[in-house]
Amino acid sequence: MGRSYFVDEAVEEYLSGLQAAPGSCVTGLLAGQSSPQRDFVVLAVQTPHMESEGQPKASKGVSPLDDIDVEWVTEHAKQVSRMLPGGLCILGLFLVTPPELSKDAQNALKRLIFAMDKYIIKGRLWELSEEDVTDRVTLHICFKTKKLVCKTFDVKDPKSSAKPADWKYQTGISSSWPMLACSVEVDLQIPVTGSSSDNTDKCMKDGLRRWAKPIEAAYCLINGRQALDDSELISGQVKTLSFLCHVDSTEQSELDERSSALVQVCSGSMRVRGVVHCRAYIHNNKPKARHAAQAIKRDIINTVCSRVEMFLEDLLINEGSQKGAVVHHVLHVLLKGMVHPKMTILSSVTHSHVVAHVFVFLLYAVHKRRYFEEY
């Protein structure tokens, strides 16, 4: 029995409005939320053209399918997934081809979907639970006939084969999805051993992993009550959300063995501090309180992680341009050319409730200021 994808009508509009040069292909992402029984797709966004300088790349292979830049598609997917609010993730890919390429499209989609999932989950700090759906959807659209072929692959099984899936359009899929929001103060001190950037990365990952554990295990209170069980989360009733954590992630067994402090000689340390604002949406098909709690916890962890990743990328770019032992960086990353030109499209295909809050960071190298823009 295949999966059922309930897709917002706005996505249908978007997909039918896609333009492609004759004989060429268009790839893009599908985003939304999965639940054990069914999946909801609320957003589609085309892979932007890479701004290439100089000569256009020569065709690699026999067909335009071979020209699909897998790295670019997956990079786009990663950047978009960073910006999605909690509860939403990249559910799959679409591929629009001219009729003569349709029969090879499935193979191309399979390659892309596995590559994309592998890239997105790299560096993720929380583990999938048993209830998480690992099927990803591939949608093939024939440019001429507009015929849709929808299949799923289980990305945790590299040998999995395509399974058929239903693709149904509906209006206002996300219009009544409850939203949870909270602000979390972060203050992490992470020692850095060694001096290469690989070392820095590893130290940050380890430090973040330690920080994330109590967040994952935290008590989540929705309206003052613990969101532990399968009680339903009723839309409109969420008034307050709070997280209570055990302060330290040290396990009892580790504690029993530890008789002295862990001392590391470091070449320096990194401190991440500030307040992150997180939000998560949960579908309205009998959502359970603990899934909502899980969605926002993951968003907290993802948000902090991706900020740190961007900080580190920024540091690498600016390495050597600052003098002195203490270097203060505030984050700016330009996503121009990746997503920026598409932001207007994003906001028009998605229902205003859902992806209305997407953060964009603009680079102002000279002024070192940071902007948030909400579309």
Binding site: S183, R258, S260, V265, V326
Partner: protein
């Protein structure tokens, strides 16, 4: 005044600091600053107490918010019990005798949590990189505070008391960390609770992890002085730590099965019992089949366990082989004795206690079992002054005597016997119901056999 409740709050805080160099006054102030930050943290409005196995959440520093409407500041702390879901999946095994015993205070276990979603500020995230060489020190502080109260004490008082206890414990931990620090080597400060005679009650002492009791003598002397404790017996060794009634013993041995028995009702007689805690050792334990020959070894193990749990020694209870080896080492037996199934008697028990523990024992001899009935005074004195379990061997059997009920006037006597010949599992009900631990009269002894008793003497030490 009887205390009805012990509130026990546990949590782990991470101590972290960066030292530019390992020594000097600058390090000390850096360390103290980190502790000061932790004290601020537990005084902040973001701390939350949760009562284990219940939905109760209390914000003690935020105007006493509670997650359960019926529990307010003014509620009696006993009301908390109604909110706790007890997890007794199994039936409570108790013989009718057990119900008559007075039970101790109820322990309410709590955990320390932090609310991370009430940020004090609103600054956007930033990353600060420091590129100087440093020693980064991280250490988990295992906080464990207790508060003993009566049932009508208000929750507000309990919570204020616990917050104070947290602050005090952090201050005590800071002192221990600074005192035992060597350069950039820090020892984890570990809390131990001790039940002292009134008025002190339940106190908490912080000891540095890894420093053995033998090196903490001076610390104990100070505390004995402070709490006016006798200086001839240990109260504050790690082994003397208070055993919370709801905690299981990890090793699986039964402790003090005799407390579940009612002493016989003899007119005009007084009760003289072993003092402190011992484990019940008997046939077939530890996968050793010593059925038929090991009874004296087991009695010796019971006695050894007493010395271990009263804090006189940190070594584990010896195996049969180790006992035999000790006898070879003192020249009492030939080397082939080791791994044999030969019996031992009171004299050997005395020798082993001396060899492995440095404990001396008195030997009491009776030429006939019937004479034991006349030894009431000696045994009563022994339990009063030394309070150690007594090994008795005679005929072909060895037993452990844990106490007597004896009347000075009529001479009537009963013996509390712990029988090492039991071959079953650690089932308290069977052991007490079937008399494997039980009160026996003088007819219990073989009236014609001669007996030797080994009465271990307490070392005078703290």
């Amino acid at each position: 005044m009887q205390c009805d409740f012990i509130f026990r709050l546990k949590g782990i805080l991470e101590f972290a600091c960066q030292l530019d160099n390992s020594n000097g006054a600058q390090s000390q102030s850096t360390i103290s600053k980190s502790f000061q930050d932790l004290r601020s943290k537990v005084s902040s409005k973001n701390i939350v107490f949760t009562v284990c196995n219940s939905p109760v959440l209390i914000w003690p520093n935020a105007g006493f918010q509670s997650s359960v409407e019926s529990l307010t500041e003014a509620s009696a702390c006993g009301d908390i019990l109604q909110c706790i879901e007890s997890d007794d999946g199994g039936r409570k095994k108790s013989s009718k005798k057990k119900d008559k015993k007075k039970s101790g205070p109820t322990v309410v276990n709590m955990k320390l949590l932090f609310e991370v979603t009430e940020p004090a500020g609103d600054e956007a995230p930033s990353l600060i990189r420091v590129s100087t060489q440093q020693h980064c020190v991280k250490m988990p502080l295992p906080l464990d505070c207790t508060l003993s109260v009566t049932t009508d004490e208000s929750l507000a008082t309990v919570c204020t008391g616990l917050v104070e206890a947290l602050n005090k414990q952090l201050a005590d931990m800071e002192e221990v960390v600074l005192r035992y620090r060597k350069g950039s080597s820090f020892l984890v400060p570990q809390p131990f609770h001790f039940q002292l005679p009134k008025p002190a009650g339940l106190i908490t002492v912080i000891y540095p992890a890894g420093v053995p009791d033998s090196q903490l003598q001076a610390v104990r002397e100070d505390l004995h002085r402070k709490f006016k404790l006798p200086c001839d017996r240990p109260y504050l060794r790690r082994a003397n730590a208070f055993h919370f009634p709801d905690a299981a013993y990890k090793d699986g041995y039964l402790r003090n099965p005799h407390i579940h028995l009612n002493p016989p009702n003899i007119e005009d007689a007084k009760l003289y019992l072993v003092q402190g805690v011992y484990s019940y050792h008997h046939y077939m334990q530890d996968h050793v089949d010593d059925n038929g020959w090991g009874c004296a070894y087991r009695s010796l193990q019971t006695i050894f366990s007493w010395f271990q749990q009263q804090g006189y020694v940190e070594t584990a209870v010896p195996t049969h082989t180790q006992i035999q080896q000790a006898l070879v080492d003192v020249g009492d037996k030939e080397p082939r004795f080791v791994s044999s199934r030969q019996w031992i008697g009171s004299i050997e028990v005395q020798a082993v206690l001396n060899q492995l523990l440095g404990v001396t024992s008195k030997i009491m001899f009776v030429s006939q079992g019937s004479e034991l009935a006349t030894k009431g005074r000696e045994l009563a004195n022994h339990f009063q002054t030394e309070g150690t379990p007594v090994m008795i061997g005679g005929g072909i059997l060895a037993h452990t005597i844990l106490g007597v009920v004896w009347s000075e006037n009529t001479g009537q006597i009963r013996f509390l016997i712990l029988d090492p010949h039991y071959t079953g599992g650690e089932d308290l009900q069977t052991i007490t119901d079937k008399g494997w631990c039980g009160w026996k009269g003088p007819e219990f002894w073989d009236q014609n056999a001669y007996y030797n008793l080994c009465l271990p003497q307490r070392p005078k030490t703290i």
